[in-house]
């Protein structure tokens, strides 16, 4: 049985179509990424599937249970970590976790045992007895996710879990999320960052204006949009052909000359680094002087440009990858 299924979900707010016929299917025990710019409908989709918002049309099921017909049963199966770190700031980390246990009517011993377990799992044991308003942004987010896991949900929804975090906390957060996936929890994650979806999600859906525009594994999507590219700028224009021949064996596609510059070549390469030193060496061996070698990873903007023909305009400054 699929952990999450959505069929033709629509949510209209007046003239705004936050969701415009979204279909989705998430296999049990997988990490699924919903990728899109601000305003694409990611949060609305999460809200519909977590019973917070009623869809205008369409249906959704969690573990086969209809979210509109049996919201309370669905709520026993899900964990939600929204965009805000929804922690009670004047309670300690431990108290926050025990509070959730209380809402689930867990016995006292079970509440404290689970709190201890989760504090350890999210590296918060030392901070466990400090009030949450003394926590850093990253710690708050971790506590927030831990709170969603108190009742061992079958499906965990993470709405932009790293938005607003500094790069270091973001990497740490990725580690924690990855571990959840390893433990068999189905995770539905929304993000504006291609890198994040790439790193965490086995299956990715790109959405825009409330609709699916692409779906697949990260490799499949990258094939569609072209993957990583290297951009080489040399000193003398007469060397351009020699440079092309030198780097061609190291690239995974045709080496092309930049239409705007007689000194610049671009070519698709395999992701994961290690190619750049080889390229520099090859150019050096061929006696080509180099000004610059730059690797460009596809960003959400590239995805959008390729898949929709327009930029991810709503994303603004947040759209760039870290």
């Amino acid at each position: 049985m699929s952990a999450v299924v959505a069929e033709g979900l629509k949510k209209h707010y007046g003239d705004t179509r936050a969701l415009d016929g979204l279909d989705m299917e998430v296999a049990q025990g997988t990490v699924y990424g919903l990728l899109g710019p601000n305003g694409a409908g990611k949060t609305t989709a999460v809200k519909v599937m977590t019973t917070l918002v009623k869809p205008t049309d369409g249906r959704a099921w969690i573990d086969g249970i209809d979210v509109a017909e049996n919201p309370r049963v669905v709520r026993t199966r899900i964990g939600l970590t929204g965009q805000y770190a929804a922690v009670e700031e004047r309670l300690t980390g431990r108290e926050n976790l025990e509070l959730i246990g209380r809402y689930f009517h867990h016995a006292g011993t079970e509440r404290s045992a689970r709190a201890i377990e989760l504090l350890a799992m999210f590296d918060l044991t030392e901070a466990g007895d400090r009030v949450a308003n003394t926590y850093s942004g990253g710690m708050r987010r971790r506590l927030d996710i831990a709170m969603s896991l108190v009742a061992r949900p079958s499906v965990l929804f993470l709405d932009e879990p790293t938005t607003g975090l500094d790069p270091r906390s973001r990497l740490a957060m990725w580690d924690f999320i990855e571990r959840l996936g390893d433990e068999g929890t189905t995770v539905l994650l929304t993000t504006q960052y291609l890198e994040e979806a790439d790193y965490l999600a086995e299956q990715i859906m790109v959405i825009d204006r409330g609709r699916k525009i692409a779906e697949g594994t990260s490799d499949q999507l990258k094939d569609q949009i072209g993957g990583d590219k290297v951009r080489v700028t040399i000193v003398k224009p007469e060397n351009i052909q020699r440079a092309k021949e030198a780097i061609a064996p190291l690239c995974v596609g045709t080496v092309e000359q930049d239409p705007q510059s007689a000194l610049t070549l671009t070519a698709p390469i395999n992701a994961g680094g290690g190619v750049v030193p080889g390229i520099i060496r090859a150019l050096d061996d061929a006696g080509v002087d180099v000004v610059d070698v730059e690797v460009r990873r596809p960003t959400l903007d590239d995805v959008f440009l390729v898949l929709t023909g327009h930029a991810a305009e709503a994303a603004g400054g947040d759209g760039e990858d870290g």
Partner: protein
């Protein structure tokens, strides 16, 4: 799409009264637990009523004479008590707006709890906080000479009437807190109408001194019934129908606004 629609084993989707009570207690417990940690709030919730007791008594005490009352304090204090517990209800809208802005309402709504318990727990904890405020205010009033002139039972009944009315207004505030978009808005939307409500009434003056139309408004004001009832009971005077009118208003406020707020809550998301 291969959809598993075999929704055979579906649990109970109905919430029992026992769950409403348990979950409301958990929710009230959350607020009461952080109350001592929110020192600013405690100070402001306490200072304002005490300040009003002292200001009105010393500023207006000498210049206002009310027929039938030798001492203005005996007339004034029940009005101040009533105003203070009513103002105390504004914390309900602020608290709910705060939970909403922090995403806590979304979190709570995604839990399998009795949804109404979030609001019930909130209003109950606000009522308990209001009782603390009331006790402090009462002590100060006694220090400056206020006395129960009627029976202790009558004084207790007066106190319960005041608290019940403020509880009714807490539900009005709950609806306001759920309807506004920010904590700041909740702060003004929760307070602004309470000034005319409490001043165009018999709380501080004898309404017969007001011009014709204003007097009619003041006499119809539920807050006037509340103040009249409390004042008569604290002073051992005949209550007329003020006690019943005040009770009826409180029951009505709770019934109407609890229904509206809980309905609104089920559609609210930050």
């Amino acid at each position: 799409m291969a959809i598993a629609r075999s929704t055979a084993a579906i649990g109970d989707d109905v919430i029992g009264l026992r769950n409403v009570i348990t979950d409301s207690m958990t929710e009230a417990g959350r607020h009461l637990r952080i109350l001592p940690r929110n020192v600013e709030l405690l100070i402001f919730a306490t200072i304002q009523p005490v300040m009003f007791v002292l200001l009105f008594s010393y500023i207006f005490g000498g210049s206002i004479q009310i027929p039938g009352y030798d001492d203005y304090d005996q007339y004034l204090m029940p009005g101040i008590f009533a105003q203070s517990v009513v103002f105390g209800s504004a914390f309900t809208s602020i608290g709910i707006a705060e939970d909403l802005s922090k995403g806590l309402i979304d979190r709570l709504r995604s839990l399998p709890i009795a949804q109404s318990s979030v609001l019930i727990g909130r209003t109950i904890s606000d009522l308990l906080r209001n009782i603390i405020t009331f006790v402090i205010m009462l002590v100060v009033a006694f220090l400056i000479g206020f006395r129960f002139e009627g029976s202790l039972w009558a004084a207790l009944l007066a106190t319960l009437l005041l608290l019940f009315f403020s509880y009714g207004l807490s539900w009005v505030q709950a609806l306001i807190g759920l309807s506004v978009s920010s904590v700041e808005a909740a702060n003004s939307a929760g307070f602004i109408w309470m000034f005319p409500m409490t001043f165009v009434s018999s709380a501080f003056i004898d309404t017969s001194t007001l011009p014709g139309w204003l007097q009619e408004v003041a006499d119809a004001n539920p807050f006037t019934h509340l103040t009249n009832a409390a004042r008569a009971l604290y002073n051992g005077n005949p209550v007329g129908n003020s006690v019943w009118l005040s009770l009826a208003w409180s029951v009505g406020l709770v019934a109407v606004f609890a229904t509206l707020s809980i309905r609104k809550f089920n559609e609210t998301s930050s």
